[in-house]
């Protein structure tokens, strides 16, 4: 080492000059590379051309099961490469990384879709090329989460509630309220999602239990309301065994007996029940937050024809029913109800595909919190503030 040190010292000065020179080159490149052209002025396609042989997707875990991906691949010749996004934030980041174009499509939830549209990361699609779009429930043909100024930035897919999951052999009496995840009764046996949007779940609970706070919409919180929700979640942290990032994490936790109660998706319940773990789920009396997902097309998609074929395929009643039953969510296509009953007895009713509009309206769907929250209110906390709060809560 000492001999090496002597040699190094003699080399130090020229090496340093090299470092500075190369460093400034790297800097200049980084500075130039930052600005990218994000506008897409392309015209909408009028027909679906020949597939490009591949399709790169960012999807929620459970959205690209071989059951329906394999037939699509053999029908179209488009090889599907799917990457799971653990949260809406991660999906937005994946869509933007490397200047975009790495992925063709994303199954964006309502709290990601507007960010992607405003950021110019996705492009409008021609819904006339997707025949089943006509059969969607009215609320999902042009929902504000994926349609801006009459332009459709993708097609709606499925929707559903975030539910309370519990192990009936360890949790009794059966819970009826979200208070079960806040009151500390199951200290060290609780899991909740690792996601800033979890603040909305706390806000929804507070809107029912502490009306004095005046929370009307869990995604439109002023500083005082946000602080109240954060205080509730900070108290909850003492009871949390682990914050789950991927659905499979929560499944492991229930399987190994590390937790007995938690917040999650019906997907976890179904997967656990399939693995003979006796769990149940419910929508507690305070209601639930939920997701409303859209397949969106990247502004720089390299395989647009495969993407259109995917949108067409995934909207058909049979595939919609398959995914709905596998994930435990509700399809956008009204024709899927009959298919669901065919694939699983009582499947349509079980996953609310025939539910009235009032059921749809009772779920508080994820959306991106913004400072200007309408009705002349501009004192709402935006998503950046929520992200910081979430980091503080987790500490």
């Amino acid at each position: 080492m000492s001999i090496l040190g002597f040699r190094l010292r003699r080399l130090w000065r020229p090496a340093m000059i090299c470092v500075v020179a190369l460093g400034s080159v790297a800097l200049a490149t980084a500075g130039c590379g930052g600005s990218s052209n994000k506008s897409s002025g392309s015209k909408l396609p009028t027909k679906i051309g020949k597939g490009e042989g591949a399709l790169n997707l960012i999807a929620w875990e459970g959205y690209t099961k071989p059951d329906w991906v394999k037939p699509y691949e053999s029908q179209t010749g488009c090889q599907v490469h799917a990457k799971f996004g653990g949260s809406s934030d991660e999906m937005v980041t994946l869509m933007r990384q490397g200047g975009g174009g790495q992925y063709d499509m994303v199954s964006a939830s309502g709290d990601a879709s507007l960010r992607l549209i405003k950021g110019g990361d996705v492009q409008p699609v021609n819904v006339d090329l997707i025949p089943d779009w006509q059969n969607f429930i009215p609320q999902l043909k042009s929902p504000p989460t994926n349609t801006v100024d009459g332009k459709h930035y993708g097609v709606s897919l499925q929707w559903g509630p975030n539910v309370l999951i519990y192990d009936p052999s360890k949790v009794s009496p059966a819970p009826t309220s979200w208070s079960s995840v806040y009151d500390g009764k199951y200290k060290g046996k609780l899991t909740v999602p690792d996601n800033p949007i979890q603040i909305a779940d706390a806000a929804l609970y507070l809107s029912k239990t502490q009306p004095a706070l005046g929370i009307t919409d869990p995604y439109e919180l002023n500083q005082k309301q946000l602080d109240a929700a954060a205080a509730l979640l900070t108290k909850q942290k003492g009871d949390v065994k682990k914050y789950w990032a991927l659905a499979s994490d929560e499944i492991d936790l229930f399987k190994n007996g590390d937790v007995v109660i938690g917040a999650g998706w019906p997907y976890q319940t179904i997967t656990l029940q399939d693995a003979k773990v006796p769990v149940k789920d419910l929508i507690p009396k305070e209601g639930a937050t939920g997701w409303l997902d859209t397949w969106m097309l990247s502004a720089k998609a390299k395989h647009p024809n495969c993407a259109y074929q995917w949108m067409k395929y995934i909207s058909t009643p049979k595939v919609q029913a398959q995914q709905a039953l596998s994930f435990g969510e509700t399809p956008a296509n009204t024709k899927a109800c009959a298919e669901m009953d065919k694939q699983q007895k009582g499947g349509c009713k079980r996953y609310h595909a025939d539910a009235p509009a009032s059921y749809f309206n009772s779920i508080k769907f994820w959306k991106t919190p913004v400072a200007d929250c309408g009705n002349g209110k501009t004192d709402c906390t935006d998503y950046t503030v929520w992200q910081q709060k979430w980091q503080e809560i987790k500490g």
Partner: protein, 304 residues
């Protein structure tokens, strides 16, 4: 004169020969040629990346579009300094890295001492293989194995239950991280200490005994000080490897187990805030610089 000799004399010397002659006459040229490729690699790939990292720490991100705003600002560092959250994350990371280092030093020393001085030759080879064997399997596999061991219904609690001791609730906690880190980095502590102890000449210990020192005194005043650089060298590995890790906290950590690495990972992969990640990433860099300076004073570099 033979024809071949005539040809050799008449033709000017070949290019290769002239080149090697030039190299022979100019030692600096020799040095430059051998050092340029590795140095260029080092500067371009390694140092340039560090420079970009440090510079981007002074930028910010537009929250809605996710574009990087190239305005010089200290905002990221101010957030780090002002917020209690990041203090506790940094302290947790450094604290656990220190705890793992001390644990590994305590575990590794007796083992290394036995392996280097007491074990017969054949056994030495076996021990050497045993220490290195875990490194042949994937890091991830070993961490997942620990996750299964420490889970509530896992192997540990099952064994304790059979022994009638009851349950130990260490899965998904900072205790779990401490156990897993200490296990994973142990070989990196054993090897340098082993080498340091092996290097102590027997004559030193004999001399100590001849001068009237008993076993314990010899150990305390001769062997241990000579092995100390080995411990310092090993601690560089265990400390820095723990300091930079983010996978183990993610897999076996509990509700409040975030490391600096986890915040960096999420800032890049989830929040798309590369500048803030860069700012936080400078913290372990500074900690490591201080640590290396201290380790150097303890003679760690001579033991490597």
């Amino acid at each position: 004169m033979a024809p071949a000799e005539a040809a050799a004399a008449g033709r000017p010397p070949g290019l290769a020969r002239r080149g090697s002659a030039a190299l022979f006459r100019r030692p600096w040229l020799r040095g430059a040629l051998t050092l340029t490729p590795p140095l260029a690699w080092f500067v371009l790939i390694y140092l340039a990346a560090l420079v970009v990292l440090f510079v981007s720490a002074f930028w910010t991100v537009d929250p809605f579009t996710g574009d990087i705003v190239h305005n010089w600002t200290l905002q990221n560092f101010r957030t780090l300094i002002d917020s209690d959250t990041y203090h506790s994350i940094a302290l947790r990371t450094i604290g656990l890295a220190a705890a793992v280092t001390i644990t590994d030093a305590i575990l590794a020393f007796p083992f290394a001492y036995y392996a280097a001085r007491l074990a017969p030759r054949r056994l030495q080879t076996v021990l050497f293989v045993l220490v290195l064997l875990p490194l042949w399997s994937s890091y991830l596999v070993r961490v997942y194995a620990w996750r299964l061991i420490l889970a509530h219904d896992g192997a540990l609690n099952w064994s304790l239950d059979k022994l009638g001791i009851g349950n130990l609730n260490v899965g998904y906690s900072n205790w779990a991280m401490w156990i897993v880190f200490s296990y994973i980095w142990l070989p990196f502590m054993i090897m340098p200490i082993w080498a340091a102890i092996e290097r102590v000449p027997d004559s030193y210990l004999d001399a100590s005994g001849d001068l009237g020192a008993r076993g314990w005194t010899t150990f305390r005043r001769v062997l241990f000080p000579l092995a100390l650089p080995g411990i310092a060298a090993g601690s560089i590995f265990t400390f820095s490897l723990t300091l930079g890790d983010y996978i183990t906290p993610q897999l076996v950590g509990g509700a409040s187990s975030d490391f600096i690495g986890n915040v960096v990972y999420r800032s890049v992969g989830v929040a798309n805030n590369v500048p803030f990640a860069a700012a936080f990433a400078t913290v372990p860099l500074i900690v490591m610089a201080i640590y290396l300076a201290v380790a150097r004073r303890m003679g760690a570099f001579e033991a490597l």
